[in-house]
Every structure is written in C-alpha cells, then in structure tokens.
C-alpha cells in the first residue's frame, strides 16, 4: 500500500511538473514581444502573406487565455498541435528528431561522467600531486571557452563531434565539483582512520565514500543533465544535428509555440524523472540515518 502510494505521488510529481512547465512556457512566450509577428512581414515580396498569417493567429488566440485554451483543448484530444513553422503535426517533428538528441544527450552525459569520475579517482588515489597544475590549466581553458567556440574548434580541426563537445563540457564541470567533494570526504575522521589502518583505496572508496557521497553524486548527475540540456542547443546548431535542441531554438526564434511547448514537455519529463532518482538518493540516506 505504502509503496503504491509512494509511486503514485512520484508519478504525480512528474506529471504536474510537465504540465506546469508547458503552461509556464505558453505564458512566457505569449507575453514576450514578437508573438504576433511573422518574419515575412518585413519582406516586400511576401509581406501580405506574412500579415495574413499574423491576423489569422490573432483571430485564433487574441488573449493569453485563448492561447492556453487552444493548447489545453489540443492536449485533451491527445494532440500537441500543429507546428507554425513547418505546418506539420508537432508529434511528427518530435518523432523525427528525438532519436538524434537522445543519442547525443545520453552519450554525452555518460561519457562526461565517466571521464570526470575516472579523472577524479585517478587524481585522488595518487599521493603525489604532480598532474594537478596541468589538470587545473586544462579545466580552466575548458571552462573559459564558450561552447560555441569549442564546437567551432572541433569543427575546424575535424577533431571530435557533438558528443565529444558535450562530454567535455559536462566532464569539466562535474570534475570541478566532484574532485572537491572527494577531497573533503577523504579528510573525514573515519576515512583518515581507515587509511591509517592501511585499508586499500578501493575499499575506502567502496565502504565509506560511495555510501556517504551517494546522494550528492546523484544530485550532481542531475545537475550535469541540466547543463547538457542547455548546451544541446548550441552544439546541435553548430554541428547541424537535426535534433530537439535545434528544433527548440528555431521554435523560439520563430515563436512556434506548439513546438516549443512540446519540446519543453519532453525536457520537463527528463528533468522530472532525473530528479526522481536524485530524490530517491536523499530519501535512502534519510532511511539509513533513521
């Protein structure tokens, strides 16, 4: 019974998050300047077509409430609406583009984590600190470099692709946090004691660190997921990956509300599910403490 309730609550959490995100997106885009415009309005040749499109849109959803109603009505029929830009059902667009983005995102995040974990463990396991200046320098360079510039460098030097850039981006941020966390954890009295007793590093890691840092690692994973999502746009745009990031950017720049709402729905679902894991980590820890 309790398990069912917990599952229900968590499910409710994700669903409400997704819904609120969608409604929030509609409000934000609708209130922002330029909602009732069309890029063709300024083009002498196609100005009248542009104006007609704007008028049609205004007639359909003149007020914020009307915009919300149009979307909610669509959702109740199981439809995410029609893309303004491409004039095709949004679900079709999402289907076409989801694979490329999820592959990129999952691959990038996984590679980023592995890289940062490996680097952290390697550096913290060693007693000497010879490699540290080099690592510090390269992380500083990677932090200072805009994602777009990193992507352009890769593109021009023909070294690494979009996944590489994403992985590097996540790795450097995760590493910074992870390394400090681990160093701090290594100085905890019980760990120092265990080390003094001559336990192997691997054992200390397993017995002490993973247990105490579990929840934080999950939160960190969640954070890197958010970082990856935001980097998806420039990476996809520069490497020309036909994915959701590129779609979202075009939708934002063309005020294609149904598409942006749909992309937000997907992103919110991702964040919602990821946060479930992060929360599960904290809850587990509470249980342990209790």
């Amino acid at each position: 019974m309790r398990v069912a309730r917990t599952i229900l609550i968590r499910l409710l959490r994700v669903v409400s998050l997704v819904l609120l995100a969608a409604l929030g997106t509609i409000v934000l885009m609708r209130v922002a300047p330029g909602y009732f415009t069309d890029s063709r309005e300024m083009d002498g040749q196609y100005a009248s077509a542009g104006r007609a499109a704007v008028q049609e849109r205004q007639a359909e959803e003149g007020t914020l409430a009307a915009s919300l109603a149009v979307s909610v009505r669509g959702w109740s029929h199981g439809s995410l609406g029609q893309s303004r830009q491409y004039d095709v059902p949004v679900t079709q667009l999402l289907r076409e583009r989801a694979a490329a983005s999820s592959k990129l995102l999952l691959g990038g995040v996984a590679a980023g984590w592995l890289l940062s974990l490996a680097l952290t463990l390697l550096l913290s396991a060693r007693r000497t600190r010879a490699g540290e200046p080099l690592i510090a320098l390269s992380t500083a360079v990677l932090l200072a470099l805009p994602v777009g510039a990193l992507a352009t460098f890769c593109l021009l030097s023909e070294f690494g692709g979009p996944m590489f850039v994403l992985a590097l981006l996540i790795a450097v941020r995760d590493f910074k946090l992870l390394y400090r966390m681990l160093r701090q954890a290594l100085r905890a009295p019980q760990v120092l004691y265990a080390r003094a007793q001559g336990f192997s590093y691997a054992r200390i890691l397993r017995v002490h660190l993973l247990r105490t840092l579990g929840a934080e690692l999950l939160s960190l994973a969640m954070m890197s997921f958010a970082v990856a999502l935001s980097a998806l746009v420039p990476v996809e745009v520069i490497f020309d990956v036909p994915g959701l990031g590129q779609l979202a950017w075009n939708a934002a720049m063309n005020r294609d509300l149904p598409v942006l709402v749909a992309v937000t729905l997907v992103m919110a679902a991702c964040v919602g599910v990821a946060s479930l894991f992060a929360e599960a980590g904290v809850t587990q820890e509470t249980a342990q403490c209790a």
Partner: protein, 540 residues
C-alpha cells in the same frame, strides 16, 4: 617539430579524402549545396518564402522564364506568347509534345487547371495578387495547345507572373513530385536534406540535341550554420555557396582559391531611418527632430559611407546614394550625386533648425539633448559593425546613439506593430529590378512604408508626390515615362532622406571551378539560375 608536422599530415590525408568525395559526386553527376532553412511549402502555388521559391525554380515548369542573366523574358513551356494592345488578353501557344516528369502529356488543360487553382481564393496563392484583381481573371483553352488569360485591366509587366506559376498535372497537385521543370523532388527529409532528381521528360535540349539538364541530381542540405556551409564547400562536398558573408569572403578566397566571386553591387540596400509615425509613443520633441528634413540630412551627411563599405564589409560593398542600386542599370538615376561625409555642413544644417552643441553634446532649440536608440537585428555581423561605425560618426555631431540589437520577432513587433522605436537600421532585399516590385515600400498607404506606415493620406507633400510618381510608373506602358517617374522618386528620396541609404552590399558567392557553364545574375537564384546547362567539367 613533430607537433607542427601532424596537422600537415592530417591535411594531406584530408585533401585526399575530399578529392575522392568530389570525384564520387562527379561520377554520380550530382551537385550539392545548402538551403538555410526548410522550405515552408513544396506546393508551388503556395510559395511564400525564399527557400520554397528556390525549390520551385528548380522543379517548376513555367510558361515563361525571366532569363536571370539578361533579365529578358524567354518562352519556356510556351513556344510563343503575346499580349493584346489593350493589355487585357494574354495568349500562350504551348510547345508540342510536352510531357510531365511521369511521362504523361502536358496540354492546355493542365495549364488552365493550374492557373485556375492559383486564382482560386482558397489556394491563397501569393502569385494571384500580382494579377491585381484575381477574382475577375478568367482562363480558357480554345485548343490543346493554346491558353488564353483574360484580364479586366492591364497589368504592368504581366509576363513576370507566369515565371512564378509552375504548371502541374490537372487536378493532381503533387507538391513537386510530378513536374515539367528540369528537376523533380525525389526525397525530402525535414531539417536534413532535399533531393532533386533530373526530369527525364524535360522539354529543353542543348545545341547538339542532348536532353537537358546535364546533372542527374541535386542535393540541398538544410543547413543554418555558415561555418559548416563554408567548411563543406572547402572540402568540396558542396559545389555552391550563394551569399558568402563579407567578413569571411577573403578568408574563403584563400581557402578555396579560384572559386569565390565578388560580382559587385547587388540590388539590395542597407539603410537607416527615423520613426516619423505620428502615432508612435515617442516624446513630441523627438518626433519634431525625426520629421525635420534638415535633421535627417545632417545625419546622412555625418556618415562616412566609404568607411562602412571598407570596414563593415571588408570592401565588399558599394557606398549608396539611393534606393536603386547601380546594378540595376535600367532604373538607376545617374544624376544622383554620391554622398560624401561633411560634418561641418551637417552642423550648419542643424544650427539652422536651432540645434547647438554644448559640452555635453548636441541639444535642440528647447534644450533636449539629442540622444536616440538605433535598433537592428542580431546576427548580421556586417550590420552590427555598421551600427557601431554610425554610432561613432554621429558623435562628431554631438549625438548620442545607443545601439540595440534585438531578435527578429521582437524587432518586427516594434517596427511593424507598436512603432515603439526611434531609429532602425536594416537591409532591404530587392528580388527583381523593376520598380513596380518596390511599390509597397514607397506608397504612403502601404504597411511596409517603414518610416510612417499605412498613412491614410500622405503626411507631407513630398510623400504625395512619391505616391503620384510611383502610380504613374506602374500604369504607364511606355518605358521612358516610367523611367522619368522613377528618376523623380529617387531625387525626392535623396533630398528628403526618409531612408538614409548606407551601402549596396556586393553579391558574393562561391562556385566550384569543377562546374562548367555557370552564369551569375543579380536576380534570385543568383548562382544556379541556368541550372539546366550546368555540368561537371569533362576533365573530372
């Protein structure tokens, strides 16, 4: 040493790879290039954006074609055509033995059906508007090879409309899958690419009788990123780059020698203007500045246009003095003088209007400091640089300018809807040389009459005069009368400066030297306008 050696080795391998790629393409007899965004529609009747227009140009079979190079009409599906003396009847005689790409015959029935579909209000075809009163236009076919179009009144330059109507099989619109043009759409992956295959039944043959087009296929990738676009061109994966940005032109010339072309001034203009709309939410004194002819002329005189061309466009632009570019040889007013920066003359003009310079800057007669914002769109590097240069130029007059870049929808909202802006800097693309196409910019009643849109009656005498001259040129059949009217409009604009013209950006493009028969034109599509006669060089 070794480190330096590595990239060279990689480059050597790479050039081998790309040369192979190019050879493979030549073997396929395919050329590739990119569209910046997805075509909004593949239905040739509904084309209302540039990407769709490009696709229609390559796939659509039309009755008449404007030769983009000579700017003259050439019969296409129609073997001949004529317009009655009163301009109300246009008759086309079709070529014999015409076929669609699926092998079915193309007759006057298909032409009539296509034209009727275009004229139907439900289709909402943008081309229909060019007939002025599409509802009263009728079409009939007295026989299988003759088509007659009845117009209620004369339409200037009516032939141009037929360049935009792609003939489709009667009652079977196919969105470019069955065409009478040089290519057909074989495959379209949204957001990725568009594949056009040669139409085996295309009507045109070369001098030796060989069927055109020479190319077997064309691949148009949907690619927004310019860096990628240029990289693929340098790697010879693409054979064409239309519109190379000025800031990368020289670099591209080094990376791909022999393939980049600066074709001189284009038909396009870059301009700056002040908001003169009486209903705008600007303070009264600012409206007074912006409606002052002396103020606008002073600003114009303070701008160093040569610097704009040299610095913002790395020399690949021509200083402007009016709305008709010198590339438009027929309509350009040669009497107009180039505008050279003259700060002291500008200050004298301002002084006459009561403006004077103080330690803090220029103030108007009532003591308001002259400070305004200059809006422009984000993402056009040359334009952003021009804005900075103009900002600096105007400090010489004591004017304080705030440059604000906005994303396009937010910009359009201010320019077209709320009128909440002071000055703006944008470019205008002219797709055709005939001044009739610029009517919606110059008629004071037009919503695209940017400095004061949709005036109920002309706000000033000179705007009324522009209206009169533009209408006159649109209605006159005699080229001389039209030219005189358009020259007069150019002169009024030069005197009044409602638009302060800055530069004509040059037409910059790149074409692989492996292609034969490429003809450049200032009209769209500027590079591959004669697509049916382009081929790979034999040596490849």
């Amino acid at each position: 040493m070794k480190i330096w050696y590595l990239p060279t080795l990689a480059a050597a391998c790479l050039s081998g790879v790309t040369a192979t790629a190019a050879l493979a393409q030549a073997g396929n007899n395919e050329i590739a290039w990119s569209l910046k965004y997805d075509p909004k529609t593949l239905d040739p009747a509904k084309v209302d954006d540039q990407a769709s227009e490009t696709v229609r140009y390559f796939t659509g079979g039309v009755l008449l074609r404007v030769n983009r190079h000579t700017q003259q009409f050439e019969p296409a599906l129609a073997a001949s055509w004529n317009v009655s003396p009163d301009g109300k009847l246009v008759t086309f005689k079709l070529r014999s033995g015409l076929k669609f790409s699926d092998g079915s015959p193309l007759t006057s029935k298909d032409v009539v059906a296509t034209l009727q579909r275009v004229l139907l209000p439900a289709t909402a075809a943008p081309a229909a508007e060019e007939f002025l009163t599409p509802a009263s236009v009728t079409v009939d076919a007295p026989d299988a090879s003759t088509v007659r179009v009845h117009l209620p009144k004369r339409v200037t330059n009516v032939g141009k409309v037929f360049d935009e109507i792609a003939i489709e099989p009667a009652n079977k619109p196919s969105e470019g899958r069955v065409t009478a043009g040089p290519f057909v759409i074989a495959d379209y992956k949204r957001g990725e690419s568009l594949l056009l295959k040669r139409n085996p039944f295309y009507w045109k043959h070369d001098a030796s009788g060989a069927a055109l087009p020479y190319l077997a296929s064309m691949r148009l990738d949907i690619l927004a990123n310019r860096e990628q676009d240029e990289l693929r061109f340098v790697r010879r994966q693409y054979q064409v780059l239309d519109s190379v940005p000025a800031d990368t032109f020289d670099q591209l010339a080094r990376r791909a020698p022999g393939s980049v072309h600066d074709l001189g001034a284009s038909l396009n203009t870059e301009q700056l203007w002040f908001n003169q709309a009486p209903g705008s939410p600007l303070p009264a004194w600012e409206k007074k500045w912006f409606t002052s002819r002396a103020f606008r002329n002073a600003v114009s005189l303070a701008i160093h246009r040569e610097d704009l061309a040299r610095i913002a466009y790395s020399g690949h632009a021509t200083p402007a003095n009016g709305f008709v570019s010198p590339a438009n040889a027929v309509w350009y007013n040669k009497q107009l003088k180039p505008v050279h920066a003259d700060v002291s003359a500008a200050l004298r003009l301002l002084a006459k209007e009561g403006f004077h310079k103080t330690a803090a800057g220029l103030v108007d007669a009532e003591g308001h400091p002259v400070k305004f914002s200059l809006l422009t769109n984000a993402g056009n590097r040359s334009r952003e640089k021009m804005a900075s240069l103009v900002q600096q130029d105007l400090t010489a007059l004591g004017m304080q300018v705030n440059v604000v870049t906005l994303d396009f929808p937010a910009l359009i909202e201010r320019l077209m809807h709320s009128q909440n802006y002071e000055a703006a800097m944008l470019g205008l693309s002219n797709v055709e040389p005939d001044p009739s196409s610029m009517m919606n910019v110059w008629l004071s009643s037009s919503p695209n009459h940017q400095w004061n849109p949709a005036e109920k009656t002309p706000a000033t005498e000179w705007e009324a005069e522009i209206d009169k001259q533009m209408l006159q040129q649109a209605e006159a059949a005699d080229l001389k009368v039209r030219k005189t009217a358009v020259d007069r409009v150019q002169q009024i604009v030069a005197d009044q400066q409602p638009f302060i013209y800055l530069v004509y950006p040059n037409m910059l493009c790149a074409v692989s030297p492996s292609l034969n028969g490429v003809e450049f034109s200032v009209l769209q599509p500027d590079v591959l306008s004669n697509i049916d006669s382009i081929r790979w060089k034999a040596s490849r």
